[in-house]
């Protein structure tokens, strides 16, 4: 275990959590779309049917979810970079047959 191992664990967990939040937001986007449709169908000729479907509430949640996923991917990329760095350092240590200081 290196100093990087802890950071990798934190980054992995953060990326996973953030991805989970985005999954919730994306599901909510779908629910909003269904709710708007249900309202429009239940009251034809009302403003619920003529005006509400044009309001981009579903799109709003989708945009938030998509951006969150980009950020989660960025955190996951950092974890991957740390993991590669750790593997390289461990390899170097093995080749050196001893301990190599781990840069922070």
């Amino acid at each position: 275990m290196t100093v990087l191992t802890v950071q990798i664990a934190i980054l992995d967990a953060a990326a996973e959590s953030l991805m989970g939040v985005c999954g919730t937001v994306r599901a909510a986007a779908g629910d909003l779309g269904e709710v708007v449709t249900a309202l429009a169908v239940a009251a034809p000729e009302s403003a619920l049917a003529t005006e509400l479907p044009g309001v981009p509430v579903e799109h709003l949640a989708e945009v938030i979810a998509a951006r969150g996923q980009v950020l989660a991917a960025r955190v996951a990329d950092s974890a991957r970079a740390y993991r590669e760095l750790e593997a390289a350092l461990l390899g170097r240590m093995e080749r050196a047959g001893g301990v190599v200081p781990v840069p922070r």
């Binding site: 249900a38 000729e45 309001v55």
Partner: protein, 513 residues
């Protein structure tokens, strides 16, 4: 308002759906709480450092800000819907009551809400029993009319309430946000873009696209927007920068060009081509705009997210002022065909006029290809350098564009493409094995009646794949006579369908020859 329609409104469903709307709107708070926990974990000392962590944390804070600011307008709209549903319920009760009373008393109600007979009754000369019946119907009609008035009033009140809430959501909560807006629009509208204004930013002009992509990904959204605003000419043409950012920058430059000269033929041609691309209803990105050299590139589809990307490299006599719309038309044709062969595969097609194409007299010589090759190589590398893994990239070269592509493969570093399609080629200058992709991923097609493709100005005719290498693909069209050299993107062209299969990664469907 048709009382029969109102009486049939499903108020139970309305109540259930509006309650669900409230729940979802309220859940935005939970999203923010969970996101805050992630941000706090990442911001802890020693948790996340290195290049890009500061920008990453700033962007995360910006995302949380936008999410938090989106919640209240959504909740206000949800509460407005609940209130409106209450009024719609009253309207429904009134309409149903009116129709019940009318049915029980022999009063007719039209779809427009007219009541027959009316509330006024003239019993002159009637027998007492007949007069009593008429007066009863008139009294019932009066009740029906009163109920219908109550229905109209409640409906109008609910509609007005809802319109007002919708207006507030659109105008005050999230101004300017519509179905075509992205996160950047949202962040700008809500004025939440993070805060790193003090950091000095140096644009790595001339660096490799991979380096540029790494640098760009390490900036916060606030910094990216600042650069786009301050240096649109630099950002718009910098290979490695995200397509959304290049689009934003290049559109700003285009707007400025048109403001300076509304009749600028270059700017007008690009603007017209953007309109052609917009007919697909897909995202359209102005990926390249170089007014000095009169070069441009327009993508149909989102280059930042598409699984498959095609870059169309044109041949001789292709200039922006005359041919941009037609070149984009080819891109639209290919994009639409990719969606026919596989509607689930996301694709972006870049119509690229990114080099100074030769005229007919210059085409037998390689100078223009030499000059254009570095730009094409950088464009392909820029698309492929997307953070999180690039798309499957296919370079589709036509005519002299195949020569440019051959030269691009000879530029330092790998070409960055996954497949190359050569159509109507007058020779390429390099063999299939020299494209830095597996030789079988070099696809060669030649239509009937394509005399240019037989010119062999630049070496071996690649359609002779037994000699050239690569994979021979069918490229014929239903154009019986005439110039087959310009038929490759026609809907009846086998080349077009083969290109679509290749871009979508469906190799087994490619018609080989």
């Amino acid at each position: 308002m048709n009382p029969y329609v109102v009486a049939a409104w499903d108020i139970g469903s309305l109540r259930a759906a509006s309650a669900r709307f409230v729940e979802i709107a309220e859940s935005t708070r939970n999203w923010v709480t969970r996101g805050e926990a992630v941000r706090a974990a990442l911001a802890a000392p020693g948790a996340w450092d290195g290049v890009g962590s500061l920008a990453g944390l700033t962007d995360l804070a910006g995302w949380l800000g936008v999410t938090a600011r989106s919640g209240p307008p959504l909740s206000a709209l949800a509460e407005g819907i609940v209130e409106a549903v209450g009024w719609y319920g009253q309207a429904q009760q009134a309409a149903a009551g009116a129709l019940r009373t009318a049915a029980a008393s022999g009063v007719a109600v039209s779809a427009q809400g007219d009541v027959t007979p009316g509330a006024q009754a003239d019993t002159t000369g009637m027998a007492p029993e007949q007069a009593a019946a008429v007066l009863d119907r008139a009294a019932a009609a009066s009740t029906v009319l009163a109920e219908l008035d109550r229905c109209r009033e409640a409906t109008a009140r609910a509609d007005a309430l809802l319109r007002s809430d919708i207006g507030q959501f659109l105008a005050l909560g999230v101004p300017g946000f519509d179905a075509s807006s992205g996160f950047v629009d949202l962040a700008l509208a809500l004025n939440v873009t993070g805060n790193l204004a003090s950091r000095t930013l140096a644009v790595p002009v001339g660096a490799d696209p991979e380096v540029v992509a790494f640098w760009w990904a390490g900036l916060s959204l606030d910094e990216q927007l600042r650069l786009i605003n301050d240096s649109p000419e630099l950002i718009g043409g910098l290979d490695g920068v995200s397509a959304w950012a290049r689009d934003l920058a290049n559109r700003a430059v285009l707007e400025e060009l048109l403001r300076a000269n509304p009749l600028d033929p270059f700017a007008l041609s690009v603007a017209a081509a953007l309109q052609v691309a917009a007919t697909t209803g897909q995202p359209v990105q102005l990926y390249l705009l170089d007014p000095e050299q009169e070069l441009a590139g327009i993508a149909v589809g989102d280059l930042d997210t598409a699984d498959g990307v095609a870059i169309l490299v044109p041949g001789m006599n292709t200039i922006v002022t005359a041919d941009m719309s037609a070149h984009v038309g080819d891109a639209v044709q290919l994009w639409e065909t990719t969606q026919v062969v596989d509607p689930t595969g996301s694709v972006a097609v870049l119509a690229w006029i990114g080099y100074d194409t030769p005229n007919t007299a210059q085409a037998p010589f390689g100078f223009h290809a030499e000059w254009g090759a570095p730009a094409l190589a950088a464009t392909v590398a820029g698309v492929a350098a997307r953070p999180g893994g690039g798309p499957k990239t296919t370079v589709i070269a036509h005519s002299y564009g195949t020569v440019v592509t051959g030269k691009a493969a000879q530029e330092p570093g790998p070409l960055g493409a996954d497949a190359v399609v050569l159509v109507g080629s007058p020779g390429v200058g390099v063999r299939a094995g020299e494209f830095e992709v597996p030789a079988e991923e070099v696809y060669v097609g030649e239509a009937d009646w394509d005399l240019i493709a037989d010119a062999a100005w630049h070496g071996v005719d690649p359609s002779e794949t037994w000699l050239y290498g690569g994979t021979c693909i069918e490229a014929g069209s239903q154009r019986l006579f005439g110039n087959g050299h310009t038929a490759y993107y026609e809907p009846t062209s086998a080349a077009l369908w083969n290109m679509a299969y290749i871009v979508q990664g469906h190799r087994a469907n490619v018609a080989r020859c």
